[in-house]
């Protein structure tokens, strides 16, 4: 029996078996990270995930939407996860992919917002125009986020997300761009992540084939288009849900609704679908 003071109050080895020291600090015999040839481990696959995010640029702003579901594999685990995060009155970020990485990025953006507002001196002694120009635009935010994503992929420690940044650029023109876990970035009048790239993007491109068409698009039409796409996504994407968030960003600021129920939902069409696989009748 070990009577040394260090062992006081500790579970006895002869009864409980030896303590697994791998979780102890290095100098105490722990070997979780690096020591003993063990590699440092990072996220190698997402766990709790959000599905598609879709967005369309219109005449004077951008519409963006994502449903409120966080899945655990195929299990619809959390049904009230808001995946659209407003940054300021010029920008909203929509997150797909790992939800915990989304929460990390959201905290990162919160601290960035605090920093920005300190340095801008948003105390009210600036006129609106100056303050508006000094405010971080959606374009600035997208550059920042894509650098964070690229840095993390380069460190082999990726943030497992696909994100859309929607809002206004420094000239208050509509801005929409994509960034993902590899640091890949691109911009287009309509964008969709995940399953939406297969299901929603063709619908949106049919209505808004190019930049010119998006500059003529009315807000109401854009919202209607996004609603239609969310419906198609709910019908066909097995990891989706019929309650979603939608934000419209224009010169009046961010209009965010977080509990939109799918309108006129009907599975009546399903009865007519016959003949897939081995089904013969």
């Amino acid at each position: 029996m070990d009577h040394s003071p260090q062992a006081w109050g500790r579970p006895r080895d002869d009864i409980y078996g030896s303590y697994n020291p791998s979780y102890l600090p290095h100098n105490k015999g722990g070997y979780q990270a690096h020591a003993n040839g063990q590699p440092n481990t990072h996220t190698q696959s997402p766990i709790v995930t959000g599905t598609s995010v879709i967005a369309i640029k219109f005449k004077s702003g951008v519409v963006i939407a994502a449903d409120n579901l966080a899945s655990y594999g195929s299990l619809a685990r959390f049904t009230d996860v808001k995946r659209l995060k407003p940054f300021n009155k010029k920008a909203v970020v929509g997150f797909g992919g790992d939800v915990s990485d989304m929460q990390y990025l959201d905290r990162l953006l919160s601290s960035l917002d605090v920093q920005e507002n300190y340095s801008n001196g948003a105390s009210g002694d600036l006129d609106d125009e100056t303050e508006n120009r000094a405010m971080m635009s959606a374009k600035n935010l997208h550059t920042y986020l894509s650098k964070v994503m690229y840095k993390r992929r380069t460190d082999f420690n990726p943030l497992w997300n696909a994100l859309l940044v929607a809002g206004l650029d420094e000239d208050s023109k509509p801005f929409l761009a994509f960034a993902d876990l590899l640091g890949t970035t691109y911009s287009s009048p309509t964008l969709a992540t995940g399953f939406g790239a297969h299901l929603a993007q063709p619908i949106m491109r049919r209505a808004v084939p190019d930049e010119e068409a998006s500059q003529k698009l009315e807000r109401e039409k854009a919202v209607e288009l996004v609603k239609q796409c969310m419906k198609v996504l709910f019908y066909r994407d097995a990891r989706s849900m019929n309650v979603y968030s939608m934000a419209v960003i224009d010169e009046n600021g961010v209009d965010l609704k977080q509990d939109i129920k799918l309108e006129a939902e009907s599975w009546a069409f399903a009865e007519g679908i016959k003949g897939y696989g081995t089904q013969t009748v």
């Binding site: 260090q6 500790r10 030896s18 015999g29 070997y31 890949t184 970035t185």
Partner: protein, 240 residues
């Protein structure tokens, strides 16, 4: 713990009484597999032709992932150097094709270096020096390469077109019009093309490429570099 050991133990570092030899890693759950692959291919095609007094670089503007078109307009050609974010008075163009995120990172690094060169030396970098520097940048990441095939084009000190091409880790070659390749054929006489013919040739090459390669299409971005500056021409290609 500190208080405890200070009065009862003489050992300089407190030890745990249950300290035991660390177990082998396999006992503690085994090795984790790295399943994250840090690259992707965003497709597309670029080319460069140098002439007597100009260089043309061209690339399509489609960005893909697999069978999906990410966007129809994501340029692969970048101005290097010049002043400010608009690259005013730049005379060098870089084209990158492969993994777009690496391409963008490479472009930003080279652009910063070229701008710093002007700041430190009070003159613009020569295309040859820039090409050599790009080679070093690429080789510097020999063991985690920028997954891009790059072409660098510009006008050399004598006012002639200059063109350099790279594989992901190094400078491959400087294009020499006189260096004919092939066996058993009489060597062709190198005659630089004029600008108009070259532009038409580029356009024809891309319209053909669009028919044969699904990753190529949507738009053609051409940059013509002459001693007077860079002229950018964007024209449509088939979207299918």
């Amino acid at each position: 713990m500190a208080a405890l050991s200070s009065y009862s133990m003489s050992a300089s570092t407190p030890t745990f009484s249950f300290q035991q030899p660390p177990q082998t890693s396999s006992a503690a759950g085994g090795q984790t597999q790295h399943s994250f692959y840090p690259y992707t291919d965003n497709g597309g095609s670029t080319l460069g032709i140098s002439g007597d007094s100009f260089t043309i670089l061209a690339g399509d503007t489609r960005s893909t992932s697999g069978y999906n078109i990410n966007t129809r307009h994501e340029p692969k050609l970048f101005r290097i150097g010049g002043s400010g974010p608009t690259h005013k008075n730049a005379r060098i163009v870089l084209s990158v094709v492969g993994f777009a995120a690496d391409g963008r990172a490479l472009q930003e690094r080279l652009d910063t270096i070229v701008k710093l060169y002007r700041y430190q030396h009070g003159k613009d970098i020569s295309v040859h020096a820039c090409a050599q520097r790009l080679s070093h940048i690429l080789y510097g990441k020999r063991f985690f390469p920028y997954y891009v095939t790059a072409i660098l084009g510009g006008i050399d000190e004598e006012g002639k077109g200059a063109l350099y091409s790279y594989d992901p880790v190094n400078l491959k070659n400087q294009y020499e019009p006189e260096a004919a390749q092939g066996l058993g054929k009489p060597q062709l006489v190198a005659k630089p093309l004029d600008r108009k013919t070259t532009e038409e040739l580029v356009r024809d090459a891309f319209t053909s490429a669009v028919e044969r390669h699904i990753e190529v299409g949507d738009g053609l971005q051409m940059m013509v570099i002459t001693k007077d500056g860079i002229e950018e021409i964007i024209s449509p290609l088939k979207q299918d």
